[in-house]
């Protein structure tokens, strides 16, 4: 008997102001797997991710993540926050808190862990993302890549079993993309379930267990990376790949 999937989306549809944002999306992701969501901007990647942890309402369909019925728990963010972490394109660090406090705040306040214990754990997470030296800095004193790595540590500090990334490298200068991808590669295969929206095809090729291509709110392709990069899965895949690969946004992975 196979374990239940960590993520199970059935018939998810959402429209906003008369426009269909997501149309009948169904997908699953196995526990510990890494899923890459790709597609042009406006294709619904971010909205789908935000449905996975209940940041968005939707019209029809069910979303189960980490064993939780997300629709039923929308009014209880704390339950969702314990199970699902999220990393944003613009980092969204708390600017009034030091790096260490950014990471330790949620465990202290939401898991009621004592200050010393939470800070020790936060230091551990910061070391894991390679920032053990910068704990007392304020976020604004950090580079974009460092800020994003703090944001990853902040999400990890709640010990989630699922981690969502919403275009984590899109707001970064090119030379900082690598350090964030390195952390993500380290996490992929560590047991945590990852879903990431990204244009980094190198990362997808190296780390993804499945690649999902969205276009206009529909799933065009959902397959393993080999089949995906073959381009024979669907005509949209070949078109998408030719656009992305030609744009030269490929980053070494």
């Amino acid at each position: 008997m196979t374990p239940p999937p960590a993520i199970e989306v059935r018939g998810l549809s959402k429209s906003y102001a008369g426009r269909t944002v997501l149309h009948d999306i169904s997908m699953t992701a196995a526990a510990g797997s890494c899923t890459v969501l790709c597609g042009a901007s406006g294709s619904g990647k971010s909205t789908l991710l935000r449905c996975l942890n209940g940041l968005e309402h939707w019209d029809a369909g069910t979303v189960r993540v980490a064993g939780l019925d997300i629709a039923a728990l929308r009014t209880r963010p704390q339950r969702i926050g314990r199970a699902i972490g999220m990393v944003f394109q613009d980092f969204a660090l708390f600017p009034h808190l030091s790096v260490l406090d950014n990471v330790a705040l949620a465990p202290r306040r939401l898991l009621r862990i004592g200050r010393d214990e939470a800070e020790a754990a936060a230091l551990g997470w910061l070391r894991r993302v390679g920032l053990g030296e910068l704990t007392s800095r304020m976020p604004r004193a950090l580079s974009g890549g460092q800020q994003q790595r703090v944001a990853i540590a902040r999400a990890l500090a709640m010990n989630p079993s699922v981690l969502l990334f919403d275009e984590p490298t899109s707001a970064l200068d090119p030379e900082m993309v690598g350090e964030v991808l390195a952390v993500m590669r380290d996490l992929a295969g560590s047991g945590i379930t990852i879903v990431t929206a990204t244009h980094e095809m190198g990362f997808a090729r190296a780390c993804a267990d499945q690649v999902v291509l969205l276009a206009a709110g529909r799933v065009c392709a959902c397959c393993g990376p080999e089949a995906f990069f073959d381009g024979r899965e669907a005509p949209e895949v070949a078109m998408f790949l030719s656009r992305v690969l030609r744009s030269g946004r490929q980053t070494a992975s």
Binding site: N53, P77, G81, M86, F88, H96, R109, L110
Partner: protein
Amino acid sequence: MNRPPPRPAANALATWRVAFFAGPVSTVLTLALLALAGWAAWRLLDWGVLSATWSAPDRQACAPGGACWAFVAARLPQFLFGFYPPDLHWRPALVVGLPVLPAIIGAALPRRHRALASGAAILLTPPVMLLVMAGGVPGLAPVPTERWGGLSLTILIATTAFVASLPLALGLAYARRASLPVVSGLAAGFIELWRGLPLVTILFMAVILLPLFLPAGTRPDRFTTAVVALTLYNSAYLAEVLRGGLQSVARSQSIAARALGFGFWRAQADIVLPQALRVALPALVNVAVALLKDTSYVMVVGLFDFIGIVAAALSDPRWMGPPTEAYLFIGAVYWTACFSLSQWAAGIERRLAA
């Protein structure tokens, strides 16, 4: 035309020479203005200090051509403490000094306890002040509000009204941002009502209207009336200042907090409000300074605040004369209080920026 870039002056002296003694006209003007300023300063010093009388039984005994500070000196206890029993003057004196306590706590404590401790100190200051003034507990003889007055009353009213309007204003700011139109509409209406009325009108109406809402025969005392009116008036301004602060916090902060598992109020307390208050701090100080000065309107309800009591003393036949010294004294005291307030806030801003 090709001119060389201006060379920076070698030192301060050179900068001054260029700025003030560049040519004959500039030199003459500089010297003339210096002479004028020096003469004015000398006249002021002569009137205010050298030829001034510091102690005299009445104005007739004051030397002409100099300030009659004897008037201020003779009436100083009354200016500070009103009609408070003289043997209990330490109590209003404590009230005057008490606002310094939150400032000291904020500066002295280590960073991690600072915000909570200063917040608690600010919220506790008015109740402690009221207890010290009113008494009525073992060890503190009761003193009725009719005997309160002077600078201690001004500081008591301003502090109490400001702190009391803080929670009210915060509630109004959140209500005005609420998505429910009834809630935001009511909050907006409340704010517009009190902000649109002149304070003098509010105080007059409070005297007439407040008794109508109370059981027959009971009269609210003047002090309570004044504090309630000032609190309502001030909360309208404060609410808009706080709303501005809340609006300055990026929406992504709330979203990130929610994704971590913070509920709405937890996110406000830990993440949104600390950022909003930082942004709002300069405007908050503005409101506090304005309130401190507006407190003088409580004369309308028959209270003798600092200005009221000094003005009343001027009609004493023994001290009849030009009110110059009295108003200079009032100005100096108010300016010192407001400047201290803004220095305190500047200190907070510096510490937050560090």
